[in-house]
């Protein structure tokens, strides 16, 4: 990674452990991630790789028995989460960081009008960090907020934005509900938007509409976006840079084109080779993702890795960086584009 551009959001060596009935689960193990201003960064991984927990850690929504054991999350130099803490990000959630959830149906309360739900965050934080409306009477604020919402709904290309606020969630289609939630994530004027598989529940034609919208919004508003997904195809379409996660570790990151055309970590290579488009003989990766209760030592991929050597079990491989890329594998000594 080049050190010249400053990171908006920086996650450094973050480890998160969650206590369960059957012991302590190490969900994240030394995660590193940098989000630079104005870029869309994809986080890819299979289920169990810890990508949802990463989102929750940034939002300060770690589960009741979970805490950061190591590392930190900083937003423009301000600590959101540090080792030993449960959460400190409450103040950032909603105001500095917007969130687009996975299932647009489950994320809206069916018994309230859409407008009431979209206004919620603004009552709390105002329209931006230095919102002049905050001390106004409620009726005035409401009028201003509604104007802002209508403007946002127009920006997310929802038909009939004026009427939409008065309607209930079930009166919208899946794609429209996702647009509503995108508008909600933008309501308080955040700099960063986190998206947790926001198109997984949608059809491909709707997915394309939403991806185009996100791209356009990011460009127009100078937003940075962290886009979590399991679909390399979506990453290829949408993202500028990408981080690949496996079993709670970040193993590779870099610009999308370079990473996908020339993956350096064995896992990234094998995973991409599983895609129906590239797969030669339709063979998956042998073995299964380990349970976080019994995480392997060192590089967590070593039990399934064909290139495993003794060092892999010993310690987490040192990350090798260069040309905006990062690879954490003992076999990788330098990375160029």
């Amino acid at each position: 990674m080049s050190g010249t551009d400053t990171a908006l959001l920086e996650i450094r060596d973050l480890s998160v452990a969650v206590g369960t009935d059957e012991g302590t689960a190490s969900i994240l193990d030394g995660v590193n991630l940098r989000l630079t201003p104005g870029s869309i960064h994809g986080v890819v991984g299979e289920s169990g790789c810890g990508k949802s927990t990463l989102i929750k850690a940034i939002l300060g929504l770690l589960p009741a028995r979970g805490r950061a054991t190591e590392g930190s999350i900083t937003l423009q130099g301000r600590a959101l989460l540090a080792a030993g803490q449960k959460s400190a990000a409450q103040s950032a959630r909603g105001r500095d960081i917007g969130f687009i959830p996975q299932d647009p149906l489950l994320a809206l309360n069916p018994v309230f009008r859409v407008g009431d739900q979209l206004r919620e965050a603004m009552w709390q934080y105002g329209m931006s960090a230095d919102d002049p409306q905050r001390n106004q009477p409620r009726a005035v604020r409401r009028r201003v907020y509604d104007q802002r919402l209508v403007e946002l709904l127009r920006a997310v290309q929802l038909p009939d934005p004026e009427q939409a606020l008065q309607r209930y969630p079930h009166q919208f289609s899946g794609g429209q509900r996702q647009r509503l939630l995108i508008a909600a994530a933008l309501a308080c004027g955040p700099q960063i938007v986190l998206a947790d598989e926001p198109t997984t529940a949608l059809d491909v034609t709707t997915q394309l509409q939403i991806l185009k919208l996100l791209r356009q919004l990011a460009r127009e508003r100078g937003l940075s976006m962290l886009f979590v997904t399991h679909d390399f195809g979506v990453v290829a379409q949408l993202c500028d840079t990408v981080t690949v996660m496996y079993a709670g570790q970040t193993i590779e990151s870099g610009p999308v084109a370079a990473t996908m055309s020339n993956p350096r970590h064995p896992y990234t290579r094998m995973l991409l080779a599983c895609h129906p488009e590239r797969s030669q003989e339709l063979k998956g990766i042998p073995g299964a993702v380990p349970s976080p209760l019994r995480a392997p030592s060192g590089c967590r991929f070593h039990p399934r890795c064909p290139e495993m050597v003794a060092d892999c079990q010993r310690a987490r491989p040192e990350a090798v960086s260069g040309a905006a890329r990062m690879v954490a594998c003992v076999h990788c000594h330098e990375v160029a584009a």
């Binding site: 059809d203 997915q207 394309l208 379409q237």
Partner: protein, 327 residues
């Protein structure tokens, strides 16, 4: 060059709702499948593709016999097996079986896998306990599992293992036609590859015919010999996979192909996207159902419903239902 059809559907229509309410007027009728004709050839894999709500699962359940068609006929190996109520229809179509979209949920949560597999054979009158055990062991092996899985409960299986068990369960019944309903949904990429490889392998080894219901075009392209595209209950295009992907004729197919993500990083701005959402199946537009979202729609599309017709004289079995089809 093409084998004889093992299953043929002619003008099948399946309707939800309809009839009368206990009080008041008639109930709205939704034509989930609307006049579908289709042939399944011995040994082929036919992909059935469409967005959610297009009627592909309804069509699959009609073929299986769980839903009764309103009109049209189904012939299985030359015999008419349509016009029957569900239980009779299932008895008439013993060679067709269905692997559920969520095979884990398709198992009774209180029963072990072994118990469920055993019951499947008992339902079909296999009385000899040793024969049942032998057939189960054989099929578990065929799907790459061993008999230690027999004592597991459904929730103790991973997604890939659930798929395998779901497949083994129906394979013990020695089907000829297997309907795979979204067989890769919810699977991770690395598991998906293994499962798809297994499907391919079993098809060739056991001489199975697949109806592969999916919305994932990259998977269908990899797995199927032919593809049928559905939109709002009708087949809008059907043909050999290579031709459909190389030269889609229907504007809907083109949009669908363009929208499906590929591994080549590309600019989103160059991709044409469809406007709006599909219309509700309760209010299907007149004429061509796709005209409300089609950039090429004109007066003819509004008035006249296009029928499936050969795209070119030279194309073998490549049909599309569009007034302005790409040649």
């Amino acid at each position: 060059m093409s084998a004889a059809p093992i299953l043929s559907l002619s003008d099948i229509t399946t309707v939800y709702g309809g009839g009368k309410r206990a009080f008041g007027g008639p109930r709205a009728e939704v034509r989930a499948v609307d006049g579908v004709s289709l042939e399944l050839r011995e040994g082929e894999a036919l992909g059935l593709v469409g967005e959610s709500g297009c009627g592909k699962t309804t069509l699959a359940k009609t073929i299986l016999g769980l839903l009764t068609e309103k009109s049209g006929s189904i012939r299985l190996g030359g015999q008419v097996v349509s016009g029957l109520r569900p239980e009779a229809a299932r008895r008439a179509r013993p060679s067709i079986h269905y692997v559920h979209q969520d095979p884990g949920a398709a198992l009774d949560p209180w029963w072990t896998v072994g118990h469920a597999l055993d019951e499947t054979l008992r339902i079909h009158g296999v009385r000899d306990r040793r024969e049942r055990a032998a057939r189960i062991a054989e099929m578990l092996m065929a799907v790459g599992l061993d008999t230690s899985f027999l004592s597991r409960y459904p929730h103790e299986l991973s997604g890939g293992q659930q798929r395998r068990i779901g497949l083994a369960r129906i394979l013990t019944l020695r089907p000829r036609i297997v309907i795979l309903d979204e067989p890769t949904s919810g699977l991770d990429l690395s598991v998906q590859a293994t499962v798809l490889g297994l499907f391919n392998d079993l098809r060739h080894r056991l001489g199975l015919t697949y109806l592969f219901v999916s919305h994932d075009l990259s998977v269908v392209r990899r797995m199927c010999d032919r593809v049928a595209i559905m939109y709002l209950g009708r087949i809008v295009e059907i043909g050999p996979t290579a031709q459909i992907f190389a030269a889609p004729a229907h504007h809907y197919t083109r949009a669908l192909l363009a929208a499906s993500p590929t591994l080549t990083p590309g600019s989103l701005d160059d991709m044409p996207s469809l406007r709006d959402d599909p219309p509700s199946p309760t209010a299907v537009p007149s004429g061509c159902a796709f005209r409300t979202r089609c950039a090429h729609a004109d007066e003819q599309c509004r008035v006249e419903r296009p029928d499936l017709a050969a795209v070119t004289d030279t194309a073998h079995g490549h049909l599309a239902a569009c007034h302005h089809a790409f040649p």
